[in-house]
Subunit: 283 residues, 2 copies
Amino acid sequence: MTDIGLAERPHEILRVGQGFDLAAVDPDSTPGFDGAKEDGSRLLAEYDQHLSDLQERLFAASRAGAQDALLLVLQGMDTAGKGGIVRHVIGVVDPQGVQHHAFKQPAGEEVMHDFLWRVAAHLPGYGMIGCFDRSHYEDVLIHRVRKLSPVAEIEARYDLINGFEYRLAGGGMRIVKVMLHISREEGKARLQERLDRPDKHWKYNPGDVDERQFWDQYMQAYQIALERTSTAYAPWYVVPANKKWYARLAVQQLLLNALQQIDPQWPVPLFDVEVEKKRLAGS
Amino acid sequence: MTDIGLAERPHEILRVGQGFDLAAVDPDSTPGFDGAKEDGSRLLAEYDQHLSDLQERLFAASRAGAQDALLLVLQGMDTAGKGGIVRHVIGVVDPQGVQHHAFKQPAGEEVMHDFLWRVAAHLPGYGMIGCFDRSHYEDVLIHRVRKLSPVAEIEARYDLINGFEYRLAGGGMRIVKVMLHISREEGKARLQERLDRPDKHWKYNPGDVDERQFWDQYMQAYQIALERTSTAYAPWYVVPANKKWYARLAVQQLLLNALQQIDPQWPVPLFDVEVEKKRLAGS
């Protein structure tokens, strides 16, 4: 057990580096964690306050001019648990400090610009935690699998993405990109649950079954995207996600690590505290 | 004890109606609730899940075309606890279903439009809970007290606001307007705390003490605004807020009531569940 309660640190062992092979990642595994579900859930709850505190510091520091922000990019197949991460991990911090956006199929003004334009419009400001449920990566994932753009254009996008993220990182943004990795069978079981429960029907889309036919092609598209866009300034992490409790714990720890790297400080007041105490007393 | 755990229902007893007198509201009081702080906090926690469930239903129903949204407008003097409501009441629901916006002094493009323009830009979509930390009411509050607009213009704004809110209500928005009412002395104590604690310094602004000189004028401006803009379609509630736990419980109950009025239903699937189960099984 280290200071974060895991035998090994998620930001080290889950990171996509040289020679990464998606097919070698077991979606059932829980890297760095030997405990059971109850232990994982307990640990998640224990670190909630820590995450919440760091978020408040991040926000406070920005009021005094600190130029730091955190962006979590969530990708994964249907039912991979993106929404659960938002609800159970991001959901514990003050809503005032979170900018969440779910990217759907582009429409209206969005299609009148390059593919990064709509992403730029939703970036978190300084002091904020941004959370993207899907992202500009759809433009190299579903676009590749379903041939929505010419191959040459998709090929160009990896560099465009890297350039874009490099600029953001240079401007003070910590970028944490997460692929929630479930197995095809787990995806099936989760869709089955959506069909079995009337309060889940609204989450089911018949198109989800069609998309399952392309599972292998999606995995290939992910492999290429992960290889080509996992950078020092915007690394990818592949989080085994068949066990929801593990995925939540891992993403929480990735965020904690990123915030610890920022190490936001309570700002030094720009006013004289003693003078203000006297003024307040007389008011 | 009624079904909501309070002797009387906040949406009835806190509502601003005919002959309302702000000066007669005791900021220390806890209308409809005889219990102690511990009881109030326990009750708040008990109803968290209820609020969270109703929010999910609201969101789900909108995916099937239901045209309902909820807007909470929070007003109050500095330190009244607006941020605490966002954190502790709104904060329990899924961040994906919340649109929060804190309105500051208008700047940039905002001042190139009428005072309602920027408000319109941040309205919650169908299925969402919107939360305004300050709002268009600043244009009849600080504008009146600090003479930022001609009196004739301010006078015209009450009707403009009512017309605007009438339109929103007609479009399916439930509007819950809350004034968090603290006493001048409580405001002083809370500013004192911000000066005493280094981790609170960032929340302190020397201008807050200047604003205290105008406390009585602010109360007059509130009285006028409450009288003239508490309508059947967008009522005001004055919530005694010297006790933070009470204010949070009361606002939570107001939101629960509004959501119960909407009564959102899980949508009926537009697909044939049995057909989809067969398709999924074969995928």
